[in-house]
């Protein structure tokens, strides 16, 4: 195998590309659950996105290709937790911060329940299609990237509270639906 001296080669070497691929496979495998974990610590969607970007960067920077899927997952959850908490300390310092023990518990629960949560995600997509058209339209508008709920409420002639509650009810309905879907799967 050829080596370039001085790192002047601007193309990746084969082994390096393999390492990228390996990393990406592992990262994609756990990305959704990591995202969920970060969100569970931060609440806010935009902030979670920002932190996840940082998590990806840190994971890649320190990636050890000898890790298997399980050890990668445990390591990645640790990194995500540190990043999320650091972010909270740095940026939202006036907000109550979850204790380390709770962050740890949430991380463990997600990892233990990853399969279930994953199945539920698939079921949820079926459930979304079962919603009434007006509910789906509301979700479309509310979950559009960059959507401002306050503005949306104004457009619809509702108070923000009304909008929040309506979305809340749809989410609860979806949770129930997903539970039924999974139960049905279990019987089949």
């Amino acid at each position: 195998m050829e080596h370039t001296v001085g790192g002047a080669n601007r193309f990746m070497e084969k082994s390096e590309r393999e390492q990228h691929d390996h990393f990406l496979r592992l990262f994609m495998e756990h990305e959704e659950m990591l995202r969920l974990f970060v969100r569970s610590l931060l609440f806010n969607m935009e902030e979670s996105r920002e932190v996840m970007q940082e998590v990806a960067v840190v994971l890649w920077r320190k990636f050890d290709s000898s890790l298997d899927s399980d050890s990668f997952r445990r390591w990645a959850f640790g990194v995500a937790r540190m990043e999320a908490l650091a972010f909270r300390r740095d940026r939202a310092r006036d907000r109550h911060l979850f204790g380390d023990d709770v962050a740890e518990l949430l991380g463990c629960t997600i990892q233990d329940e990853a399969n279930r949560l994953d199945h539920e995600r698939n079921a949820l997509e079926t459930c979304v299609r079962k919603l009434r058209p007006d509910q789906r339209e509301l979700l479309q508008s509310a979950y559009q990237p960059g959507a401002k709920l306050k503005d949306l409420a104004k457009t619809l002639g509702w108070t923000s509270m009304t909008l929040y509650k309506k979305l809340h009810r749809i989410r609860l309905q979806l949770m129930e639906c997903a539970k039924r879907e999974l139960a049905a799967e279990d019987y089949s």
Binding site: R89, R93, Y143
Partner: protein, 555 residues
Amino acid sequence: MRQTRTRGRGLLVNDQHARLELIRRCLDGEATNEEIAQLEELLRADPEFRLEYLRYLNVDSVLAALPNKRESVAECRVHDAPQLPPYESRWPHFLGPAGWLTAAAMLLFSSVLTLQSIDREQNNTRSQRTRGIIAKPTAVKDTGVAVLTRTAGLQGAASTNWRIGETIPPGLMKWDSGLLQLEFYGGATVVAEGPAEIEILDESRVVCRAGRLRARVPEPARGFAVLAPNVELVDLGTDFGLDILDDGSVEVHVFDGAVELFAVESNRDLSTRVQLNAGDAVSVGRDGISKPVGSRNADFVSPSRLNRMSAFQQQQTHRDWRTFRDSLRDDPRVVAYFPFERNSSDDRVLTGYGSNGTVIEGAIVGCEWTQGRWSSKSSLQFKRPGDRVRLNVPGKFESMTYSTWVRVDGLDRMHSSLLLTDGFRENSPHWQIRRDGNLVLGVQHPGDNAINYQAKSVFNAFRLGQWTHLATVYDSERSLVTHYVNGEVAKKHRLKSFAGGLLEIGNATIGNWSEPEPHHAPGIRNLNGCMDELIVFNEALLGKEVRRIHEVGRP
């Protein structure tokens, strides 16, 4: 239906609806800190609630992640479309399994590489330091129309906040006495003397309601206009004076070139036009009628005379500051004091004073000496990536106060160092400015746990190039970190947690970062600007003491 174990605050824990509503409030950003604590307590105590919380979040994130919702929903309304593919394969179909990997790789690595080339941060995951600084550069809108360039003897309420080098937007300037010089973006230079009331309309028009002003209007600035109570003056490329007298009359003196006068509110009606040439002087009464008066050039302070006046005034302030400097040598709280006075016998040494009359020598690397806050005072310029001053400050402290006069010329780096201890050891603080203009005191706590106390947006484009006083007080007794900018509190923080021991500085660097630990791969943190005075106290200074340092050192 299951029962939740009650624990802690005991509120709403048995009511499933109330618990879900609590989750919603937290996610929607409506919850109080107390409610978040309640949620935390429930998450801690009840595994089932934990799963419920995650399931709720799962719904939310699935909804947020559905691609092209508008199309797919519209489709299924009409055709009862087949199920959406599972989320793993939601990448564009044409890419195929290898394709999505490549697409993701490109996306991910473009961001990774960008970040790495900007800054290889310290080798831990505390990369919150990099966050917010990577924000895309946005164009800065210049709201200014003039720059305040010189002052002498300014008095009056608003004028205490005016700073040399400051960008002046349109608006009213009013002061009791003293002189100031404005250089308008259009090219005109105006020296105005108080008591004055001037409203700046734009880069070539001012309304003068009171005061005396002298304008130098070179060729490119022709057309500069002054609206006075009885007359509108339009410059034709010249040097003129305008004085509003107590009786309400307005005197116009032309020293060079020519100006034209119009009746006020005549919309420059040519029938009211009068041209004045070099040597002419008129007085325009309240009735708008003008009569010639004797020229009195000397009464109108010119830019060059103001320059001499302000130089004289600077010498006075510089002298007052020297008295202050000497008094600090006897202050037992001072653990390091660098007045940044050039040592002519060895200008590679930055002479400082430590506790108990000791001398601290800083080793100057690269930096060049330049003019300081006053033309008669020196400062050290930090410009190149290697520029720095190495020093050692012995001692351990429960509380500390940092104080410096800096002129920041640019925030080119992720971090610009004021005073950074080597590496980032526990209890050895980092005092620096982030690229987004935040002033930060960072303290490393045990367990690789860095806490940053920040004052946001201390610097922006309009504070660059101006002498600015910064002070940060770490007060362990009152459990506070306070940042001051120009003598005023910019931000107070409760201590997040106490440092793991006494604070110390030891080996440190001014205007840069020296990083001996090999596993750290730091980005350069060199300061772009000048420093003129740095003081470290081993106690928490009071607000009034910080204000005093600012007042006495103010250029």
